[in-house]
Symmetry: C2
Subunit: 371 residues, 2 copies
């Protein structure tokens, strides 16, 4: 069966071979599987351009990406820690909510969902308060905006803070200078730009961060340090790993390498994005985020009219075999089209053809702009 | 590729068709997938012999089974709750450890790993202390012993406690009277006796337990009540679900039904167990748990001699294409052979043939007993 292409932020369309890698049952404590985990952890460090020799560790954690974020926050924060959370979307809000759920001190600096964080306000906050940790989302999937993680990292380091980046939807699909961004810990998940299937996430973090926080974990399941010690000790997960998902991820990492690494993948996503935005503009749709702030991961488009019926639009596209995504920004009515996964410009062309047909069926009043 | 059969407590050997069900990419918020989740939750209630109309709910949670246990404990316990944990193995100890990690009050009643819990001591404890919750493991996979969940349930109810059963390795493979056991909440996971692949677990619990504990969740990711409200509200997981694993589980539920339900599956596991124990005894191996206390899920065998080299035994079996499992009991040297998964008596026969060959290669001094 050929499934509908998923123009979403995940779960994504993956390659046939990634899915086929799941057709095996491996014992989670058997030597073959332990080798898979070891190689996969090494590959993640290589992707980030760092190594264990330089003091970095890759730790895998069961669950969705949010589980990995909560694992980091609830494991590495000392009792007297205080977070500064930089927020311009729902995923930044989620980080704050997790911190607060654990009774950890935090303050937020918010900017509009289609604007960059205010670096002056961040610097002022860091200078005046006793913050120990700074968090920001890399690509805010809420809107598709790319946040300036290197600039924020420089400020965090200047003020001696641990710097945490939620790179869920960006890692593997966006080129950036990992070490130069001065981050101490990054989280992403199996089914974003590496193009595996959902089931686990991972943290890439400085070893000293794990060593220094031995007893801070507030849960058993999400204890990042204990998970790391298990992976380093006997090479195994502490609790049953999603073996099939990990086999798919190992295959996905091979395919990322074969495609030409992050540079080639980022270029493909950029091409998907460019085709999409040009076609949507030509039809008369407008993006929510200004072009110069927009990443190539996902694009939010404003509803074309006040009475736009998104459910009908979605269902008609679905009937034609295309899955898009509802909006998530709070201050504007949007829908989203994703550019990541095993999708190519020709797939985006096919989506645009379907959107043109649906727009005609729905008699949408669009004001096409010249290309 | 044909993988080695896994005589382990999971991940298990699954059917080819269960694995093949993962060869699709479905959008997690798309209608087809929402239907899969709804049907799957209903099937779980049916398997337990309960229904939403009777006040029961099935809640799915990403991660390993331990994540689901922590989800229940950290979500349903009020700040002044106090647990009595009945322990005769490592999984009982893990429940206690989770409770303590969240700063929740608890006491344990321990018995030896090859003995049943002491019902008199449990009754005395419940009579004298202000316990609000009682927890026990159904089949202690540490040893393979089956605990008397109905008898403990009667005591818990007599003293007005919420009764929680960790039925991780038993649910779906053991016949028992769900309602008659007086339990309020049961947890199991996707890759045990239903024979799916690992990636999520589930709680089957009384709705009033969720309704009454709205604000008690100590984490965001593992918030059982919020997860339930999401599943009931829009039919979706709050955070990315392991879509492929869920598709495999839907297929596994169909195959459990086709096999003849829990009764037929329990009979197959019993047959696997009987073939295994008879063959091992004939070779001169002895079980750790007395026969009348032993379930059909997994069997612990004592090392045959003080100088038994388990690693060599394991590796030689592995080279012949069979995966068994190390022991986990604390007071005796054991190894374990599992009877669950897509395995049949003929598979166990093949394992026994391999064990006989390895015993000869290793010159094990065994004292065969007459059958």
């Amino acid at each position: 069966m050929v499934d509908k292409p998923l123009f979403t932020p995940g779960p994504l369309t993956t390659s046939r071979t990634v899915k086929a890698a799941m057709s095996r049952d491996l014992g989670s404590r058997d030597t073959e599987f332990i080798r898979v985990i070891r190689d996969l952890r090494n590959s993640l460090l290589q992707l980030a351009g760092v190594s264990q020799a330089d003091g970095w560790e890759a730790v895998l954690m069961q669950g969705s990406g949010t589980f990995s974020i909560e694992s980091v926050i609830s494991s590495i924060t000392p009792p007297d820690g205080k977070w500064l959370v930089i927020i311009n979307g729902a995923y930044g809000e989620r980080i704050l909510k997790i911190i607060e759920r654990h009774g950890i001190a935090a303050e937020a600096i918010r900017s509009a969902e289609n604007e960059l964080p205010d670096l002056v306000a961040i610097e002022a906050a860091l200078g005046g308060e006793e913050f120990t940790h700074v968090a920001v989302v890399h690509c805010e999937t809420t809107s598709g905006i790319m946040n300036p993680i290197a600039e924020i990292g420089a400020l965090a380091k200047e003020h001696g803070c641990v710097y945490f980046v939620d790179s869920m939807s960006a890692f593997g699909g966006v080129q950036f200078d990992f070490a130069g961004s001065q981050l101490d810990c990054l989280v992403s998940s199996a089914n974003k730009c590496v193009q595996g299937v959902p089931g686990f996430g991972f943290a890439i973090c400085r070893r000293e961060l794990l060593d220094a926080t031995e007893d801070h974990a507030r849960t058993i399941s999400l204890d990042l340090t204990a998970q790391w010690r298990g992976l380093e000790g006997n090479g195994q997960f502490r609790f049953t790993p999603p073996t099939h998902t990990l086999l798919a991820f190992a295959q996905a990492l091979r395919e990322l390498d074969e495609e030409g690494g992050i540079a080639a993948r980022a270029a493909r996503y950029r091409a998907n994005h460019d085709v999409c935005v040009a076609g949507m503009r030509a039809m008369g749709f407008t993006e929510f985020v200004p072009e110069n702030l927009q990443g190539q991961i996902i694009t939010s488009f404003l509803y074309p009219t006040d009475d736009f019926d998104f459910d009908e639009f979605y269902n008609r596209l679905n009937e034609k075999g295309f899955v898009i995504y509802p909006g998530k920004v709070t201050k504007a009515n949007c829908f989203r089209i994703g550019h990541i996964g095993h999708l190519f410009p020709a797939d985006t062309d096919a989506l645009l053809t379907a959107i043109r047909a649906v727009a005609a069926e729905m008699n949408l009043s669009l004001s096409p702009k010249p290309a």
